[in-house]
Symmetry: C2
């Protein structure tokens, strides 16, 4: 028995363990393969035909398994280009799909959820950030303000700044949830309400926020974050009314 034969057998979908439907077994087998080969975010998965051969199932089954990952945002597929991993996945990943109804109120409601999360994230970052992470936050703040004053599009820099705060909480869930909430809406309106850059008035406030976190002042970090979010919410409400009228 050659090595490749042995590995092929090891890779095959376990038919005995398929007390659930085969689909779960295929998903598990692909996850195991991903872990074994060390495929990370941005890397390509093997093509469907190869997966089908190695796992001993048909291409349809592979497609259906990967299809579910696509809708969960774990992979992106492109004709001719292959399938790439866009989020971490492992046997210990779980997925909680939220379905919510998009209505006039949705943006405000989403904001109401984001608000306590962002405030808590700022507080935790002020408490838990390492020296290195505090430096990164200050640096991102400097970049953001520079871009803003140059009158360029400051939103990418804004995202990087807030991502640095989320990283510094020591709890990746904050970043994930906030990012996904943002992402879900970004999918729908590319720029919400046309070209309005909501929250531009908050940019100067990002300096005291960064400084409060860097100084470990939880209370002040939370207060400034609340202030920023209030301004953004006011902007959103104004745009909504303006759009309706």
């Amino acid at each position: 028995m050659t090595i490749s034969e042995a590995s092929r057998i090891q890779e095959q979908v376990d038919p005995a363990g398929a007390r659930r439907n085969r689909d779960s077994a295929v998903v598990d087998a692909i996850i195991a393969l991903i872990e074994r080969e060390g495929i990370g975010i941005g890397d390509r998965l093997p093509p469907e035909i190869e997966l089908a051969e190695r796992l001993g199932v048909s291409r349809s089954s592979i497609r259906e398994a990967i299809k579910s990952w696509q809708s969960l945002g774990i992979v992106t597929r492109n004709k001719g280009a292959g399938t790439r991993l866009s989020a971490e996945i492992s046997s210990r990943s779980i997925h909680l799909p939220l379905t919510l109804k998009l209505e006039a109120e949705s943006l405000i409601r989403t904001h109401a959820v984001r608000r306590p999360l962002e405030i808590e994230a700022s507080r935790l970052a002020a408490r838990n950030a390492s020296t290195q992470e505090r430096k990164v936050i200050l640096a991102r703040m400097a970049e953001l303000i520079a871009v803003f004053e140059a009158a360029e599009d400051w939103r990418p820099a804004d995202h990087r700044f807030h991502a640095a705060i989320h990283d510094a909480t020591g709890n990746p869930l904050f970043g994930q949830i906030i990012w996904q909430i943002h992402h879900a809406f970004h999918d729908i309106y590319d720029t919400p309400f046309g070209k309005a850059h909501l929250g531009a008035a908050t940019i100067p406030l990002h300096r005291p926020l960064a400084e409060a976190i860097a100084a470990g002042d939880e209370t002040r970090a939370a207060a400034v974050t609340a202030e920023i979010l209030d301004i953004v919410e006011a902007d959103v409400r104004r745009e909504m009314e303006g759009g309706d009228a």
Copy 2:
């Protein structure tokens, strides 16, 4: 042209509007069909073959479209029995798939996210609840304490109590997100850490919480909620260390 022919044409997937991939077009077409036929939660969808014929695409395409709904928890499929809608879906639904990594820290991390959401929910409930909703919260609290003092399983009553608070926020997202987070973990450990009823010590605190919300005292509602969550978190940490040792 017969009526059935006309409706068939009306139903067909619009090939011109398929600037995105066809899959989105198929999904949109099925959603339109669901809305037109008034299919609600628990109802059966037409069989795949019929959908394929009516929408003018192959059964594989139908399957892949519905597959993505399955992974999002919108439908459940059963061999021989058909496909049933298990969540509301409309052209105005959006889906927020969260993927999180399950590790030793997960329960604590999840709790850290739940904490600000629950506190904010209590605050909003105290501010926004209608008279009727305040009555419901008090009633649920009374039930909970009765069950607890009878030494029965109080967790269902606990869920109903907190669900009443979430309902009273006026923002369904709080209830959805908290419930789904809870549900995701419930899927994995049926009872976390065996039969331990974490947070039993918090039940007496539910009375002042309900009363604070009923009285509209935001500050006190938030404070009591924080106290409850602190006790639960301490319980979780104790169990985790006990389990490791």
